[in-house]
Symmetry: C2
Subunit: 167 residues, 2 copies
């Protein structure tokens, strides 16, 4: 799929078929994440691939968006590694860039994805369930799967509201 | 260009030809930014398009990477709008996603780009020069232009160092 099309047609997908997401597919998504830019090229992001049905079910209980997580074929948990960080503001933005690469690559592969943030309120429970070391900060969960076919409308402000005029 | 190719071949470009970047091209980049995801779809990002040579020169004096900025055909300044933010951690990540859309769209269009963060240390000077209101936080500057042809090598950690094993 053309880059421009992937960017413009990507939508959050919250309903997935039961078809599994393979480890090979997850690696392709993480390969894309790897190529994101970061300040001083510090690459502070870390990832966990989650395909185990029982674990997915447990994590789904930790968010208000239980259905999205429980129905996913796979999850990618995203962390920032304190030992690689140099500037929280910039490191968070580079994590966002890496996540966007995953979402666009998923779109390109015909996979649906949903970037979940609300679950960060249960960060301690998630990290404990995943036995993640203290020096990793949980910053996002991505739900993945084959999208159930239906129209997904994206709503965005017009460019005129986003562009600040020059002095 | 295929999405996957854009993701894998994008590099920071620090040397540009003198060919200008048009306003139409900048709008196409910002259209891509617009389609990034954000928490609660709050779209907290704001952008300023800068093509005036004198202004570019002035901004170039505010960073150690003067040459990259001074040689750019255009700049996009990226801000977070305090009035639209809901969670600093998530808003910064969504800004990173919007920036990544710009960088990938630029790659797709044959434009070179460089995401500059060091200039944030001179945020007050930049905001004053651009007469930006207080409720906008300056989070990134993107230098843009036609890339001078040369090989650009990207160095990344192998996936094995980025993936945290399951418990």
């Amino acid at each position: 799929m053309e880059t421009d099309e992937a960017i413009r047609t990507r939508r959050s997908v919250r309903e997935f078929t039961r078809e599994p997401v393979t480890d090979l597919e997850l690696d392709r998504l993480l390969e894309a994440a790897r190529w994101a830019p970061s300040g001083l090229n510090n690459q502070p992001w870390r990832f966990m691939k989650i395909t185990d049905a029982e674990l997915i079910e447990k994590l789904s209980m930790m968010t208000r968006y239980r259905g999205v997580v429980a129905g996913a074929g796979a999850l990618i948990a995203v962390f920032l590694d304190a030992g690689s960080m140099y500037d929280r503001t910039k490191d968070l933005m580079s994590a966002g860039a890496a996540i966007q690469n995953i979402l666009l690559e998923a779109q390109d592969m015909g996979l649906g994805s949903c970037w979940l943030g609300e679950i960060l309120t249960r960060s301690d429970s998630v990290k404990s369930e995943l036995a993640v070391p203290d020096d990793l900060e949980f910053v996002a969960l991505i739900a993945l799967g084959r999208p159930v076919e239906r129209e997904r409308v994206g709503v965005r402000h017009p460019l005129s509201e986003l562009v600040i005029p020059l002095p």
